[in-house]
Structure formats: C-alpha cells, structure tokens
C-alpha cells in the first residue's frame, strides 16, 4: 500500500500531528529503536516561527475528561536555529529511519507567522532547503490588527495564502482551526488560494480553573490562560469537521483528532481524509501510530 499525497509517496496513511512528537527528543529517549520502528510515513515538525520562542510559563498541561488541555506556546529555536541546528539532524534521522523501513520519509515543516510577509519569509526559506518536502501553515495566530486568528476568517485566510503561495512550489498544507464558525468555508478559501491540502482539526480552545482549594483558586490554571483541547474528547468533533471539509473541497484532507485505534483512523479515512494524523495518543504510547498503520495495511503487506 503506497499513497500519493500531493505528489509525495507515503508508505501508509499515518503521520503525526504537528507538535505532538519531537523526533530528536525521542531519539535521545529511545535511541536506535526509534529508527527501527519509526511510526509515521511522513514527519511533521513542530511549529517554527521567525524568532525563537521560549513558550508559555508553566503550568502548561491539564488532564481533562478523556483528553488533555495544553498551553505550550510553540517553543522553538526560530527559523535560523531550526534551519541550522535542527533540520540537518532531523533530516539525517529521517533518512536513517527511512533506510531501516525501506522507504523515504518525507519531512513537512510547520510554520507560523502573524502576517503574509512573515509567512512568506518562512515558506521561502523552507522552499530553499532540499530536506523539506512540504510546508504546513499554522494559521492559528491572531492578526495584530483584528485580533482574529488568520485562519478563522475565510477572506483573510485566502488573502494571506495567495501571497504565501507564490513563494514555494512544494506541497503547501493549510492547518485549519476548529475555533471558527464555518470550517468548510475556510477549507474552500484555502483551496481557492492554491493550497495543495488541508489538515484538521487543530485543538479546540479550552480552559481549566485552578482548584478552589489552591492558591490560585478561581483563576485560569494554565500559565497561558486558555489552551487547546485534544484527545478522545474531540474525536467526534474531528469526524464531523473532516467529513464536512472533505465534502466541500477536492484537495487532499489530513484528518486528525482523538485517533487512538485503527478503527478511529478508518473512520476519518471513510469520512474522506487521505491521511490521518496521530497526536495526543503518542503521548500515551509513543509507538501507537505504528500499530495503527500496521492494522490499516492490507494483510500480507510488510510492516
């Protein structure tokens, strides 16, 4: 089973959600055994921004009913740090893991910027690097003027994407936010502005209050105030949004949200997704995506 995704050949339809798997950290923890059983058919980096970010002050996590609220704040070394320090190591790791699997593993770099100019600079830099096979745009960043997430408004999304599109011929994936009124309209705007694919759903905006008995009682628990909900709690929301988007657009859809089993992945594929991403489940079981991919493969396929 080999899958075509925007011209990339993937061995199976399971990838990771951006920011849910740090391959370089995993290699420190698991060593060569990570390469022997690398779980994803393509690897999506965490979000890279122009400038380095430390991330939000802790606490950053809250265990929610059947899920997790996170407020990590996109810590990253910034574009220059990513390109000079992380990208070569990531590419080398993926090459090694790909060789062990007998197939190349595509690297997709996720970037976020608050303006078309910022995003264009990020995308152009990615375009110049042969190690990067595709770019995913994180548009869950507020417009400085309107305060509205760029990706939450179809008009704004289309405008920004049109500007960015000109800077790369590589596959461009738009990550859609679920925190908006009309997700299919945003997907349509992405397609019309030249996106090669859309991915969804990002986390749902959520909040937890500090326990009443604690020092910070009745105030938001997370250092960043609110956060994003992921995990099984959002699976049915993801299914509805993926189905609605797949119905609306003709470009490939990457479906994600609460996938824990091959059956959950099949559900998203049946709803019209070309690929599925595993995110929070990797926190519980780092090799979860591998088991899912194996179970999705037709019998007799080498795993």
């Amino acid at each position: 089973m080999s899958i075509d995704f925007c011209g990339l050949r993937l061995a199976h339809p399971v990838i990771n959600g951006s920011g849910t798997f740090d391959a370089l950290a995993a290699e420190r923890a698991f060593g060569e055994s990570l390469c022997e059983a690398f779980p994803f058919a393509a690897f999506v980096s965490k979000t890279i921004t122009l400038e380095p970010r430390e991330g939000n002050p802790p606490p950053r996590l809250w265990e929610a009913p059947a899920g997790l609220i996170n407020s990590i704040g996109l810590p990253n070394k910034g574009l220059d740090g990513y390109l000079s320090e992380e990208l070569p190591r990531l590419a080398e790791l993926l090459a090694r893991a790909g060789a062990r699997q007998g197939q190349p593993l595509a690297l997709i770099t996720n970037v976020m910027g608050s303006t078309a100019e910022e995003l264009s600079r990020l995308v152009e830099a990615c375009d110049l690097r042969a190690e990067i096979a595709g770019v995913e745009l994180n548009l869950s960043c507020p417009n400085v003027k309107t305060g509205l997430d760029i990706g939450a408004d179809p008009g704004q999304l289309g405008e920004v994407l049109q500007a960015v599109r000109a800077h790369t011929g590589k596959p461009l994936i738009v990550k859609l936010t679920p925190n908006t009124a009309d997700v299919p309209a945003c997907a349509q705007a992405a397609q019309d502005a030249g996106a090669d694919a859309v991915s969804l759903i990002n986390t749902l905006r959520a909040m937890a209050l500090a326990p009443r008995a604690s020092a910070g009682a009745r105030r938001p628990w997370l250092g960043g105030g609110s956060g994003g909900l992921s995990g099984p709690a959002i699976r049915t929301v993801a299914l509805a949004q993926v189905a609605a988007v797949a119905e609306r657009v003709s470009i490939p859809v990457v479906g994600m949200g609460g996938v824990q089993t091959a059956a959950h992945a099949r559900g998203l594929l049946d709803a019209g997704a070309t690929l599925v991403a595993v995110g929070t489940e990797s926190f519980r079981d780092p090799a979860a995506a591998r088991a899912i991919a194996r179970e999705l493969a037709p019998p007799g396929t080498p795993g």
Partner: protein, 286 residues
C-alpha cells in the same frame, strides 16, 4: 543513561505491598533495560484506565524506579489522585503498561566525596535504587509528615528521620538535619528528591556551603519522552528545561530556584522525581 525500547511493555503485577501510608508496586519486568538510579517510567493500568470519576486518569503517570532487581521493577505509590488510586488498586496478576527507563539519572559522587541522600515523602523512591548502586557509604536523611508515612523509610538502610509532627525522629524539617550535617562537613554530594519547597531549601543550603547537589524534580508530564513540552521548569539564565528529557535529575547549579511544578489537575501533578500525581499537601513532608 539507559535508553528505553521504543514501545510500551505490557507487564504483570507480581505483588503490591503496604508500606505504612504507601504501597510498593512490584511488577514482573524481565525485559527492562537496567535503569540508572533516578530514571523513571510512565505507568498506566491496562484495564480501567479512564472512565472513572471525571473520565480520569487518561494519561500515564510518571514514577521513579525505586528498584530493579530479579526481573522486577518496584515503584512507590501514594494514593493521591485518580491515577495513583487506580494503580494502588492493582493486584498480583493484573496487567499494566510501562514505558521506560526514561530521563537522566543521578551520577556518582566524585573521588573522595561522601554521598548524602535526602528524601521527602514519596520522593524517597529513587534514593533506594541509588543507595543500592552507590559504592560508597551514604548518609540518609528522610522527612515525612507522620509516623505512617515514615514507615516508607524501610526502603533504605540506616536512615535518620524527621517528621512534621515529631512522631518519628527529629521534630521538624529534614532540611534542618541537612543543614547541621553540612555544617560539620560540606565535602559531600547531596542527592535529593521530594517536594519542590524541600528541594529549594536543599538547593539554597548546598549553594551556601559550596556542596554539589543533584535534584530529582517532579513536573506535570503527559508523555515522558520530550514530545509534549509540558513538564518544563525555568533554567538559570533563561529558557526552560524539559524535566523528562533534561532531568528528572538536574544539577542544582542549573536552576535559579526550584519552583512549584506545572501540573495537570488538582491531584494530577505528575512527577518523575517521585511519583506521578502528588497531592497539593505533599509539600508538608520535608
């Protein structure tokens, strides 16, 4: 550091034994790599993990490996939240998941320095395996809130005790024992694990005496292998350290101060240093 296999292991509980206010969970774990003292594992029950009150626990919980011998891994449990409660209910023959050993452990003291092992509450766990493996004689100082908890001291040999209520040993903080000890002879390395407030006193005392200290921290943690970026603590000089990857054992010199860790629930403060979810009041045991 020992690296973990890239897979959770489905294990069988060999026994669960009461130890005062704690339980020692003994798990048949023959395929585990030999852990370095101070390393931890992410644990979850194989059945009924989730679906409880408030649909928790959902994420695995981080626990220091208290011992690894004879094909068994030992963990020290205190029932303080939905995760520890579920694990405390396990019985011999029950199945559970484990991922590990993870993280950076303790490193041996340099030539000629003695080792002081200082633990608070359930934070004594990683000191047990450390004492097993250190080739030098150790001074062991342990603090607990009361007599029931102080029975946990049986995990280590030759401990001097402090309790908050004076029911066992010194009536007061275990860090007062450390202060007196360092006053006599600061030429030591301090290995400490316990509540953040205790660790902060240890850090400050050791800095004052020029004594190196290795602190096993706890922090809210979803994954245990650097994926979630949730378990960070502020580093000296800015930025954050990931407790799971850069720790849980961190040289005290790398920290400006030890702060209350990030957590993921009123009872869900995952801690690699000691046990995963610790209760808000655990800070009293010092």
């Amino acid at each position: 550091m020992s690296q973990a296999p890239f897979a959770r292991r489905l294990l069988t509980v060999a026994a669960i034994e009461a130890l005062g206010a704690y339980r020692v969970l003994r798990v048949a774990d023959p395929d585990a790599p030999q852990p370095q003292p101070g390393q931890f594992a992410m644990l979850a029950a194989a059945e009924r993990w989730g679906g409880g009150e408030d649909e928790r626990p959902y994420l695995p919980r981080a626990f220091s490996i208290a011992r690894h011998a004879g094909g068994e891994s030992h963990f020290l449990l205190e029932d303080v939240g939905p995760g520890t409660r579920r694990l405390s209910e396990l019985r011999a023959g029950d199945r559970m998941w484990a991922l590990g050993p993870l993280g950076q452990g303790f490193t041996p003291p340099g030539e000629g320095r003695r080792a002081i092992l200082l633990g608070g509450g359930v934070g004594i766990a990683p000191l047990a395996i450390l004492q097993d493996e250190l080739q030098v004689s150790t001074t062991v100082l342990l603090g607990f809130r009361d007599r029931a908890h102080a029975q946990g001291a049986a995990l280590l040999d030759g401990a001097r005790l402090a309790t908050d209520d004076g029911s066992s040993g010194h009536h007061g903080l275990v860090t007062e024992l450390l202060a007196a000890d360092l006053e006599r002879d600061p030429h030591a390395v301090v290995y400490a694990c316990g509540p953040p407030a205790m660790l902060e006193v240890v850090r400050a005392l050791c800095a004052e005496h020029g004594t190196p200290a290795q602190l096993a921290l706890e922090a809210g943690m979803a994954c245990g292998f650097g994926a979630c970026f949730g378990c960070v603590v502020p580093a000296r000089g800015g930025g954050y350290l990931r407790v799971c990857l850069d720790g849980p054992v961190i040289d005290a010199a790398e920290l400006e101060r030890v702060e209350e860790p990030g957590a993921y629930g009123p009872e869900g403060r995952a801690g690699a240093g000691a046990e995963s979810p610790t209760e808000p009041g655990a800070g009293r045991a010092r």
